[in-house]
């Protein structure tokens, strides 16, 4: 297979938009943008100087790559409408096996960027790891080559390993963010602003990145300081959900210590 140059983007949300920009900046041509929401599809198609369609049956055939940047449920709805033959069709999901695409296209793969995307924050794509998978070795090579034009970190991962990485990402991103959210509510109850925690949150992340999270850990659970842990649990008496989280995570930190 030749280099991937001409790309159809299916889905104009955060992932589709960020990847379309990155592909174009890497020298690819976005031929068409397909999606359901007229405003988002039109905005991205205009930016890419690409054709657009709101009807998935009308995507242009014969291009190098068809990239599905859709929520998992929508992938299963949209794929049967595409009518592709030998064209390379990939999804961008961490959790869907590649094989969900198999009934609908001969050439399938996955192009999964390991990052949290939002509409308002630009992301430096060169630092976003990309995990690729393909049904055929020549497509794997083509996706690796495409990935390397965007990012410094590109690896092959089959569906099982990618799903495992996705779970790790849920812990590292969604769950750590939820810890910030609970902390924010605890601060608000004491009349303090979330701002007060910002240096601590920043330092905790940088310290874990530099030292590794095992060596970076501090606090009552790490010291197995049962007096403080019990006092904190008592103070969380009116918030049983946070109390339960506090107890479970303190025990888990202590278990991790004991494993060493």
């Amino acid at each position: 297979m030749n280099d991937i140059r001409n790309i159809v983007i299916i889905g104009a949300g955060n992932v589709g938009t960020r990847l379309a920009h990155a592909f174009r900046d890497a020298g690819c041509r976005i031929v068409q943008v397909a999606g359901r929401r007229n405003a988002a599809v039109k905005a991205l198609a205009d930016e890419m100087e690409a054709a657009m369609t709101l009807s998935f049956e009308e995507i242009v055939k014969g291009q190098d790559l068809y990239l599905l940047a859709l929520p998992d449920d929508a992938i299963l709805e949209v794929v049967p409408q595409l009518g592709l033959g030998h064209e390379l069709l990939v999804h961008t999901s961490g959790s869907m096996p590649m094989d969900v695409l198999a009934p609908y296209a001969e050439s399938i793969g996955v192009f999964y960027p390991l990052q949290t995307f939002s509409s308002i924050r630009p992301v430096n794509m060169a630092e976003v790891p990309v995990l690729v998978e393909a049904g055929r070795i020549e497509h794997e090579d083509a996706l690796l080559a495409l990935g390397r034009r965007l990012s410094r970190v590109v690896s092959v991962a089959d569906s099982t390993r990618r799903q495992r990485v996705h779970i790790a990402a849920v812990f590292a991103s969604n769950f750590s963010n939820h810890m910030y959210a609970i902390a924010q509510k605890l601060m608000a109850e004491s009349g303090f602003d979330f701002e007060l925690l910002v240096p601590l949150i920043r330092e905790t992340a940088l310290k874990a990145i530099e030292m590794g999270p095992g060596a970076a850990q501090t606090g009552p659970a790490k010291r197995n300081d049962l007096k403080i842990i019990e006092k904190h649990l008592a103070m969380l008496g009116n918030e049983p959900e946070w109390q339960q989280i506090y107890a479970l995570l303190s025990k888990s930190i202590d278990n991790q210590n004991s494993d060493k």
Copy 2:
């Protein structure tokens, strides 16, 4: 009370060392360093050009401030040995009430820096919030003034509010770090390095700081995507502790959504 200029540091661990440097850089004089571990006490005393003692009965009397930078349990052991009268004695603990000092000194207070300190990473103290408390208003004013010489963010907080902030800090720092630790192990099981998660961890922290953690949240629990959540729980079947954490935090994220 006059300005605090002459300070005795009791405890030469991470907190005592970082604060001693910050006080000196702010124009204070470290008169003496007291502690149990000869090497650490000597190192800090040498750096501060201060006297040192390994015997708490031998601290020099009549200075402006005695700062206890000791673990909570050690505070209760050491304080009865100090033999202070009217001198201002403060501890640096998030979780101990100020009043644990009351039986041992007439003038008491708290000087609590809200940060995770480690021996190998320097911290910009100007960005570390400091919470102060004192038994008398003139000492509160003196501690506020001292705090402002180190840091841009200094507030008064009584023991109950400070303890609540300390719980928030456990969530924002110790528990988010534990999420990184579990993620690291999940990555290792898939044959991937922790490095791959670094851009995600960095972006998650910066995004929460910029947008607030509520608006920044993404992922299956936020979307209440039960198909993915159940698949992830099944994949964690061999790690019941992580499975339990995944289930509890996903439910808590969904509850937070429903509250809005």
